[in-house]
Symmetry: C2
Subunit: 509 residues, 2 copies
Amino acid sequence: MPETSTLKDRIENPELLAKVVPVEEAVKHVVDGHTLAISGFTKSGEPKTFLPALAYHFSQHAPQARITLLTGASLSEDVEGPLAPYIRKRGPYMSSAASRRRIHAGEMDFTDVHLSAFARNLMYGFYGDIDVAVVEVSRIRPNGSVILTSSVGISVEALTRAKKIILEVNTSAPDYTGFHDIVVPAVHPHVGWPLPVVNVRDRIGTPYVEFDLRKVVAVVESRTPDYPVPFKAADDTDKRIAKNVVDFLLQCREQYHWGKRLPPIQSGVGNVANAIIGQLYDSPFQKIRFWTEVFQDGMLRYVEDDAKFEYASSTAVSFSAEGRERFMRLFDRCRDRLVLRPMWLSNSPEIISRLFVIAMNTPIEVDIYGHVNSTHIDGSRIVNGLGGSGDFFRNAYLSIVHTPSTRRLKDGRTVSCVMPYVRHIDHTEHDIKCVVTEQGYALNMDIRSPKRRAQDIIERCAHPHFRPLLSAYLDMAGAGDEPRATDMQALNAWWRDYDEACRNFPKGG
Amino acid sequence: MPETSTLKDRIENPELLAKVVPVEEAVKHVVDGHTLAISGFTKSGEPKTFLPALAYHFSQHAPQARITLLTGASLSEDVEGPLAPYIRKRGPYMSSAASRRRIHAGEMDFTDVHLSAFARNLMYGFYGDIDVAVVEVSRIRPNGSVILTSSVGISVEALTRAKKIILEVNTSAPDYTGFHDIVVPAVHPHVGWPLPVVNVRDRIGTPYVEFDLRKVVAVVESRTPDYPVPFKAADDTDKRIAKNVVDFLLQCREQYHWGKRLPPIQSGVGNVANAIIGQLYDSPFQKIRFWTEVFQDGMLRYVEDDAKFEYASSTAVSFSAEGRERFMRLFDRCRDRLVLRPMWLSNSPEIISRLFVIAMNTPIEVDIYGHVNSTHIDGSRIVNGLGGSGDFFRNAYLSIVHTPSTRRLKDGRTVSCVMPYVRHIDHTEHDIKCVVTEQGYALNMDIRSPKRRAQDIIERCAHPHFRPLLSAYLDMAGAGDEPRATDMQALNAWWRDYDEACRNFPKGG
């Protein structure tokens, strides 16, 4: 049973125990111009003590310092917020309001990269030298190899490539020994090898990370547990979307002769994702498997039901406060039914394709031809990044983009999430097999022109309030297999009509 | 040494020899509403006798007939043109003017799919039942298994899935025994397996295709050789693009410590591709390997030089009339240095990623942020399809999009191939690492905001004549990390200025 421990319990290597210093000392290893690669994925396993201390250190001693910060995925605002003023370059994913403001203002350079590609690019040297790796661990083994905590992300690549290493031993985290499956990607001109994963549960690496101990310049203690993620219960719209997703899967089961075996599920994060996970639990599917990025609240009930659930693979666990309590109760069961892998493996195109993964993600908006905007509001300002959505959509057996058909803005307008065109495209029509809203679902799986597909998406997925306008656009677009309106005057008029429709959206619509 | 043979030489199985019928009889097996899956890839290995005969049959006896036609990639106009009026649905790639007209007019439904995905979708049943497979072969072995000809494409999936099979034995084709590496993709709920290819030369299947002989309803003879593809010598612009590509590769060799080993090259088809292949031949790189879709004219000189060349893998060979003669002279050498695979393998994300393939393709246009339009003129009318460009760009170690900076239209205007935004996106900024024109190259490999990347693409890749306009767009776009102009009036004015600049492009520019 995991418990809070002392630092001495957790550091079994005397050489590294001797390197324990106060965090105020450790932060001095990071200076202006450095590139940091750190642990952390969806707010799990981040260096929760080191980064805020580094921000404080800069504020006191080096307010002009600017660094490059590379992570697995998002950090919590408590960790990234204070450091944001000192970040000059950032990748490959963030959800910090402080960083976002600086990115939009052009003060922080953010590069949005497929997560699987980012981890490999890091190994290839595309991002240059890594000056310092900062990685949260739950235990240091006698030979100095480490056991990570609640996420893997890019921790392994960071420890492998960095010139200096700082380990943050989290004594409040449980000992995660047995959760991880650690493998380093091959780098040209070395020969790449097939990844021998043919089932979700297959482990192909080690449960610990090996690296060059001589590079460790400091070890610090952290007693801060992972920050909880918000959990919002599914509303009626979420539930209707979830029902449509499961209806689609049941149709596929018949049509493509799956038998009882549902292909492994990749699920995004958020209300709709949670609603789908709930709906799947109540579906006829048994022995469900998740091959996904994040193991989250909705999946915990599966762990308690061996008929319903077989196995899960992800790169992080991420819970609400309540979910975390349940996870701790189920810790040993989870270790037997869940594996945490580096994000280049959890998001590997090779494995996603081989396992016939069913991919699902929520976008900002889709268009009538099936192109997807996952990242940029108004096409100009990034929200978080595309994360692993492209890794999964592109290589999935079935790729499902699900969204409410409308979204209410703060200014009172209600906009359509099904648009004639989207102003930023992260996923093309070629990668999307099914569009789902609370209204229904439309397929892009058969031999059909984009124009016919558009009629279908409008009729089945768009909100009835916006359907006439979308059809009007299609008429205006004219000839071609995938027509776009090019008459700027007509287009202008269309946008005016649309804006009016957004204002006139019926209350409770 | 391959020679033209008699039908009896080529059909060693008595049961199938007994099924030889005149093509006028064989075509009767195809009726209105049928789905045909056939051999053929970039005009190689297509059923050159059957399809025109089928078109003639429909014209005489069933002018209302409409079929679905699925291929590997493009057919020659001699083959597809006459049949086009009878095709209702078409996928996944075509370059027929007759089909294109019908597609734009909405009379033919065309679905544009990544080639690797298309072959697998076919096996998964996503395109429904295949009524008839028509496959060109060079030989039928004693046990009835077949040796294909100059391409593989979807021939294997067609023979595996079809209800009825028609074999077209091409006695004018050489006996291609030993060229092919045949494997069928796994289908859920069967377990997928790792593809054991770790070098370009690794063969993992059989040199012949096995299938259910009872499904063969007819065997026909063909004496028509593959139609030659046009070959245009590289002009000055092509050569400057090629030089910039090779300069980029030489820079990478230094920066990423490749040593002498160039990662395998994927090359598109056309002048620029041929210029690059030529420039590589004159570069310091040795033991070059191609992992690509089509083995073409420019690669033949490599086959004669064992210091320069190691091995090639593709799904088709495709030559000009002159190239074909040279290929025939080098036939035995080619068999030892070239393998033809099904297109799901030649374009497999798993293998492209593992082998660190360097992908290169020519688009219609790119935008300043690195988004690529490969398929739609004016965003509305498809040209050919995206083919394997997405398979390669997305999974490559390095992805290079190369294009002349300008293109002269028939109406006399010269347009910029580097645009503020493209009206159809087939490949997103996330998948492109380098943009190359005859002006220079710009990278998308480091941590940099799209806006900074745009300044770089404008300065290094756009034609000097269009640079001020592109910079003006960027200024007009305003704030955000990847800003887009949304003021319709300003945008309108920009397009007017652009149109004028296209008209004023200096002669000999």
